[in-house]
Symmetry: C2
Subunit: 302 residues, 2 copies
């Protein structure tokens, strides 16, 4: 009579299949596995952590699609678009629970705590973002805070978590956490740049999607800082009052401005810091792969 | 720059205040604290577990309000009605995270696992329920499975969790888990009966709310089993085709039928089983209070 966690509703299985078939970059689990390998952590625990981190990430994406009303994610229709808001909430909740269960299976209290704390940080950041659209004077510090909550916090869990699974001392765990933080910040800045520079087909979502939603990212902030009608333009963007022609015009202007390069320079700074932290770690094959991963983050085209 | 879990967005705080000011019965934390007291478990851990269990419960209610489109909960407007779906999803997610964090703080792996597993059970049950409305032949076993997932599973966590925090052996932990299961099943059946028998003001939500939503509960199942046009009536209810007059008629018919007493008899059976399990536990003041709590579950009017 009782439902065991192994007995899933067929509709839930269909929703999960839909989600997992859409791929994604799997950069967070790669980060866990490489960091754990570099630090000689228990491999089974590392695999469990990698799955848990990716599921936590996926769960937040599922709920984001409901919040944003997005119809496409990774190039395929969202659960929200196909099954509606109720199923979306529940699918996200289920993946959260599964992620927490995996994290609990490892049996490291410290890990469980950073896991739960990160979910709080991510959600708190999203709530701030939801209300920040009406905040007209948000600047670079607000932006950095937001992308920390949205992205870098989970990169931190990936690298700090892997470090916790190994035998390294507290200071080295802090270094690994900071490595995750830095490449996570870079990752999100590049993501925000790609929203302007990548073509729609490769990205799997409409170009300048953030701008359409009234979201001010780093390229926009740099662009606005040199624009003549700054106040007015910012107001039109955040209140989503631009029509398609105006949006195209802004996107073109940003693309041909120095804002893109300035944003990429900022991302490169984070990568450089991350790499210098990584130098303190054991020199082995996995560390070399982490260098490559950091390099890929800044040089990727999707 | 980084958001710590202690620095909350003011809008989140407002949403949480709104939620916590609405009261509720707090029966789950009471169950944790009394069970832990009876078994001489660590008091600080018991308080943390009690808060965690209540927050897990609250988070599921917040998301339920979005799924059901409910405008009232505990007599006050839902977050969904006041702040919209995005804020509702995120508020629920935040409370989940906070609940997981509290559970992690206790530092008992077994507890963390049952906590995460229960969230999976609850969500899986809700997904089944979402699609079950189209399932026209759902009977008593389906109903019992649903209320286990919805309610009794969390009562189990309350009593099993408290038992895990104490020094009792595995068999006794299983007895406590079963005690929670039985009074949880009774609690939900009584809730489903009260949806028909309690008046709207005391209940804090519209009467026959479940019926309006096409949800077949135990009183309805017993009523249908003796109704002449059973198939037709069930179809009209589950497809939500009844107008207000028809709904009033069905409610009156159920109220004056034997269905209510039969459902309460079933609830009493669960309570009796629960009490007989409780007899195996140490005879002290807290056990006496748990007897009273079990008695209150069957005799309450809200």
């Amino acid at each position: 009579m009782r439902i065991s966690p192994g007995e899933h509703d067929p509709n839930l299985i269909a929703a999960l299949d839909h989600l997992l078939s859409s791929g994604g970059k799997r950069i967070r689990p790669a980060l866990v596995l490489l960091s754990a390998g570099m630090l000689n952590a228990d491999r089974d625990h590392a695999i469990t952590l990698a799955a848990s981190v990716e599921m936590l990430h996926t769960a937040t994406l599922v709920h984001d699609d409901l919040i944003d009303g997005a119809s496409l994610r990774r190039g395929i229709p969202t659960i929200n678009a196909t099954l509606g808001p109720g199923a979306t909430v529940l699918t996200g909740d289920y993946i959260f629970a599964r992620a927490a269960y995996l994290a609990a299976e490892i049996g490291e209290q410290a890990l469980m705590k950073i896991f739960a704390r990160t979910l709080m940080t991510i959600v708190n950041g999203e709530i701030s973002q939801m209300y920040a659209n009406s905040k007209s004077d948000a600047g670079i510090p607000d932006y950095l805070e937001r992308i920390y909550a949205k992205t870098a916090s989970l990169f931190e869990v990936a690298t700090e978590g892997a470090a916790i699974l190994s035998d390294i001392d507290e200071d080295a765990v802090a270094v690994m956490k900071s490595f995750g933080y830095n490449i996570g910040m870079a990752f999100q800045i590049v993501d925000d740049v790609l929203d302007f520079t990548a073509d729609e087909e490769r990205l799997g979502k409409p170009a300048a999607n953030d701008l359409r939603q009234g979201l001010i990212t780093l390229p926009v902030l740099y662009f606005l800082s040199t624009a003549s009608d700054q106040e007015n333009l910012r107001h039109k963007i955040t209140t989503q009052q631009c029509d398609e022609d105006e949006l195209s015009e802004i996107v073109s202007a940003i693309r041909s401005s120095k804002a893109i390069d300035k944003a990429l320079d900022q991302a490169q700074e984070f990568i450089t810091t991350g790499i210098s932290l990584l130098k303190m770690m054991p020199a082995n094959q996995e560390r070399a792969a982490l260098y490559e991963l950091a390099d890929h983050i800044i040089n990727r085209s999707t």
